[in-house]
């Protein structure tokens, strides 16, 4: 029976499963010491289903919904139809977030240029990022299910508009294990408030909690309780850990068969090492002035996201597999009105850092193994809201991918003539997920986990890979 359900974990041995290896944030270090347990460590590296194209993912999440028709999907017809209702040939959406379907179309106020050898179009809001189009596959035909933020952000992270399922980072960690020794494998960073839906967005859902994302806090202490409180010196702590070790060893003398006790002893040593290694990972003082400038750290309008982008590179170098960076976390990009001011601000906050990240990854030879994904939970409507804003558009929007095997200088799919719905080659969120997993070496149909008697997978009931991205 159980053989029929791949990746099934035998419940009765689940405790042993975790603890023989004594794993966690840093399973490998322990596992290598406990060879017998290697196969049961939940974070031990697992063989991918096929040779991967990418080793790490940096997901740049523009939260609130960036306007594709003002950034990557120019629509001359929209300019012509400015101020007019949605043509019958296209048809109004049945339901919108704010009941705006009868509003008139609104032209983009941006100037557009073709960039690179590929000549792909990008607006002036993203002119730094635009320099990298020859490394980008721009998918102009994305679509999603949800109309409101919390559901849509949740779907972009977990596949479902309803909270409770594992996020993609958790699936990736589950499917591949960790590739580093003393950092989490799935890291989330924000630049403002918490994203809508909060921790649900990096939750392990029904997967064991070891696979959940770790939110790195800004500052020098990214993980909770990473540093001892004031009043305890390093030497003092080290000496105390020595006592703890000897007490634990004395107690374990007649319990030698219990590797969990051993694992717990080692977990303190690992935690001690993490105190310095995690702090080191986020210590940007070690970066050169030139690098900091590249990411815009000298510019207050983009330094927060820039610092996160730079940290993302440092984490990639340290083997962190899935890094999610929110721009405008807490729905910053949600431009129901005053889109010029709103997007003007958030594009400025993200354009230079993203360009810097791509440049830096490339010059260090990391881009070929690092998949950079850009997008929001949806795009924005071609029709206006409150005269100078745009409503939510889940029926057609743009995402792009660079590096990690993604082909450069190409479009996938298109929207209709005004940018409202996906037209050619619609790519659903599930398809995006299936493709990201594929590029990391995982087949979404084979990445399963038995929950409540069902073999669950990351793409719920759907999902197809979009081969054009890399093939």
């Amino acid at each position: 029976m159980l053989d029929r359900l791949r990746h099934h974990w035998n419940v009765s041995s689940r405790r042993e499963f975790f603890t023989r290896a004594g794993s966690g944030l840093a399973g490998i270090a322990l596992t290598s010491m406990l060879a017998e347990a290697a196969k049961s460590d939940p974070l031990a590296p697992k063989a991918p289903h096929h040779p991967p194209l990418a080793k790490s993912v940096i997901f740049l999440f523009m939260e609130g919904g960036p306007s594709h028709v003002d950034l990557f999907d120019p629509k001359p017809a929209l300019s012509k139809l400015d101020g007019k209702p949605i043509p019958d040939s296209i048809g109004k959406p049945k339901q919108t977030s704010r009941g705006t379907a009868n509003n008139t179309l609104m032209a983009s106020k941006r100037t557009w240029k073709q960039y690179g050898e590929s000549g792909m179009w990008v607006s002036d809001w993203y002119q730094n990022t635009a320099a990298h189009v020859d490394d980008m596959t721009i998918i102009r035909s994305c679509w999603a299910d949800g109309l409101n933020h919390v559901g849509s952000v949740c779907q972009m992270n977990t596949g479902s508009i309803l909270a409770g399922r594992p996020s993609m980072g958790a699936w990736v960690t589950y499917g591949l294990g960790t590739a580093n020794q003393n950092l989490p494998s799935f890291v989330v960073m924000t630049d403002d408030r918490d994203p809508l839906g909060g921790t649900n967005n990096w939750s392990a859902g029904f997967l064991p909690a070891v696979y959940q994302g770790t939110q790195f806090r800004r500052g020098d202490s990214p993980i909770l309780d990473l540093k001892p409180p004031a009043g305890i010196s390093d030497a003092q702590q080290k000496n105390e850990l020595g006592l703890l070790r000897s007490l634990n060893e004395l107690w374990a003398r007649d319990k030698q068969e219990d590797s969990e006790l051993d694992a717990r002893i080692r977990s303190y040593e690992l935690a001690y090492q993490m105190q310095s290694s995690a702090a080191d990972a986020v210590d940007l003082t070690r970066e050169s002035a030139a690098t900091k400038t590249l990411y815009g750290l000298d510019d207050p309008s983009c330094s927060v996201f820039g610092a996160n982008c730079l940290m993302a590179r440092r984490l990639v170098e340290r083997g962190v597999r899935f890094i999610e960076l929110y721009s405008g976390s807490g729905s910053g990009w949600d431009a129901h009105e005053h889109i010029e001011q709103n997007h003007g601000k958030w594009c400025k906050a993200s354009d230079k850092p993203i360009a810097g990240l791509l440049t830096d990854l490339k010059q260090r030879g990391l881009l070929k193994d690092t998949l950079v994904v850009w997008g929001g939970e949806f795009g924005r409507t071609p029709f206006n809201e409150l005269s100078d804003g745009r409503d939510h558009n889940p029926w057609g929007f743009t995402m792009w991918m660079a590096g990690g095997g993604a082909k450069g200088g190409q479009y996938v799919g298109s929207t209709d003539e005004i940018g409202m719905r996906a037209a050619d080659r619609p790519v659903h969120v599930h398809d995006i997920h299936a493709s990201i997993l594929w590029m990391l070496g995982l087949d979404h149909m084979q990445t399963t986990y038995l929950h409540n008697g069902r073999s669950e997978r990351p793409t719920v009931l759907a999902g197809e890979i979009v081969k054009e991205i890399w093939a």
């Binding site: 408030r193 309780d225 003092q236 634990n248 004395l250 319990k255 303190y268």
Partner: protein
Amino acid sequence: MHWPTVGLAGLLCAAGVASGEVSFSRDVAPVLASKCSQCHSSASKMGGLDLTAEADLRRVAGNGTLYRRVTGQTQPQMPMGGRLTDQQIALIKNWVDSGAKIDTATTIASSAPQFTEAQRKYWFFQPVAKPARVAGADNQIDALIDAKLSAKHLHPNPPADKITLLRRATLDLTGLPPTAEETQAFLADDSPKAFEKVVDRLLASPHYGERWGREWLDLARYADTNGFKADETRPNIWRYRDYVIQSFNQDKPYDRFVKEQIAGDEAYPGNLDARVATGFLRHYTDETNQPVMELRRQEILTDLTDTVGGVFMGMTMACARCHDHKFDPILQKDYYRLQAFFANIRADDNEVLLKGADLEAYQSKLADWDKRTKAIRDELDALVEPYAKQERDYYMPRFSTGTQQAINTPPDQRTPYQQLLAFQGMPQITHSWDTFSKKLKGDQKARFDELTAQLKSLDETYKPKPPVAQTVIDNGNTAPPTFILGGGEWTARGAEVQPGFLSILDPGDARITAPQGLNTTGRRLALANWLTNPNNPLTARVMVNRIWQGHFGTGIVASSSDFGTVGEQPTNRPLLDYLAATFVDNGWSVKKLHRAIMLSAAYRQSSTANEAAIAADPDNKLLWRYPRRRAEGEVVRDSMLMVSGKLNMKMGGPGIRPELPAGVNAVGYASWPVEKDSAEADRRSVYVFVKRVLTYPMFEAFDAPNAGESCPRRFSTVVPSQALTMMNDKQVIEWSQALAGRVLNDAGLDPAQRIERAYRLALARPPSAAEKTSVSDFLKSQTTLVAGRLAADEKVLLPENMPTNMDQAQGAAFVDFCHALISSNEFMYIN
């Protein structure tokens, strides 16, 4: 939208089919029969489509629906949950293109679900079979365990030593370590009944309910908030938590406990505890700003069906939400038959917990308040109405069409379904007067302020504030219909079903009798009566297994909410049935069950291992030793509070919020106002506020569930974040300082005695010679280190209330020793 990307000709070649040669009976019917007929046959007729009816088949083939659905050109793509292969799609396409000829008399056979013989005989569906008494055995539990052990030539371990046993039993039953006095008393008691007395003492302790209530709260997915984005507080839901604690403490018979939680309002209408109990059905996560009320209601019903199926029946119902269960005999129909018991419920967040004269007094006070304030409230309503209407009109289009229709239908004309939708939708467009106060200008604003001031003063004097529960009730005595839903989607309605149980146990509709004199359907009462029938083969087995799991870490059935074929099989079925039968015979007494388990030799044996036994039964499934395990985060925290002398034993009341580690972004929807009174913060963990978007970090590190769904068994991991919590958390350090202060303030102890005192407080035993040496050596070297730091004017952490005549360096070193002691494995394990 997944269009085939390969040309059709290519596909046909791949399928090995020459154009024009497609035969319906040979090529197409098998695909339709295996992939479509479960939802689209005469039995379920999803979307009104019955592919076994020739007319229907011709229609969807002829008008292109069939092809568009299987290719996904019309959403949702069929079949739900699994795309056809390119070859299968090509066959259908070719058949349609060649005229959709049907070359048989019948179209496709309807797939009427049939249970297999094996399913009918599956042990879990058979009556509980109490094993015959094993002659000559003192203890039946041990006799049944020994039977399994001896079959493998294994022997149970000798008894654990007294201190280990006392710590084990005390942590097990109360979640707290034994006090030094309790340890002394037990060691001094040489009578054969010494342990029995301990068990009885612990079962009588109010802390028993706090410990075992917490286990039940995991199952009940208890939380103090709604979940989702806003994660609003449920201000009165804590009464359910207190009800659970009290029920365990009172040894409420389990059948009664179940009945109260499923149908307390219908079964015991005058009983206030029973009204609180039904809060079990109120713990669903709820997206309160969801604009599609049909979806919101369906999600709640899904949660209830899955929760009730798992918690009380030990069945993973969720599989049957979209299709008949692939392995267990649960029909999709059964999922919705179970769901139908809850089809008429709605939240009742203002259930007044008064009765008799108290209730009458409250009602007359309320009427008085109503009379005194009605004019003011009416005028306030009228003042804000233009703005309230604007707001309603603005938000109304967000709602789904069905929600709008429900709200726009006059209340007395709404169908039961519309009543439920409107009940849930109205709060989204109903705002308090204050919301509009900023929009009022001039005289209106002045009048508004005057009226609100008057009302406030009247409210303070006259408005009664009764105790209130958050619970659910039936929305009247007529339930909306329940349909089988395709893919579990509320939009994909199939055949209507009536409330009913698992078909394999009882295929007919449930017999429902509406309770006399109550405005309710009686549906939940029918379910509760079925569940608690002594002959129900599921309920008692599932519960005794949970109690067993609580004592041994693993149940006799390890997957304690899944007794089906995909779950784990029992390691000792006669034992399970013995416990279940005895449980019912003993009037469903949970305490008697604890007692029987704990007085067995199996429970009292030591946890030590031997090679032969490990080789024969490495996972200790047959219980040749007591399984050592790490305590839950709540137990670790409570133990630290207890030995530091800080634990505040106060029981009950609204959830408390202890300090968070630095760096938690507890703002906005995740706000966490920390208790101002530190004594409140130092209460037991079961009273810590359960916030769905912010699990208390110390518990989260130690594998606490997130309360999004029922948790039958916690994971037990070893992760560095646990070590970081123990090493660096400010509270852990403070408790170490308090423990050190507690020991150092014991007058007249010499240095060796201090070490011993700390050991006895934390671990209920004196240190061994080797431990004494380790600790003394450490205190020496640590004192030197700290003295150096003090000389450099650095800050050090001293014991709480350190005796004034004590050397600071020695005091700080003693804190570090205490810190190591409460971080030790021994402290955290139930051994």
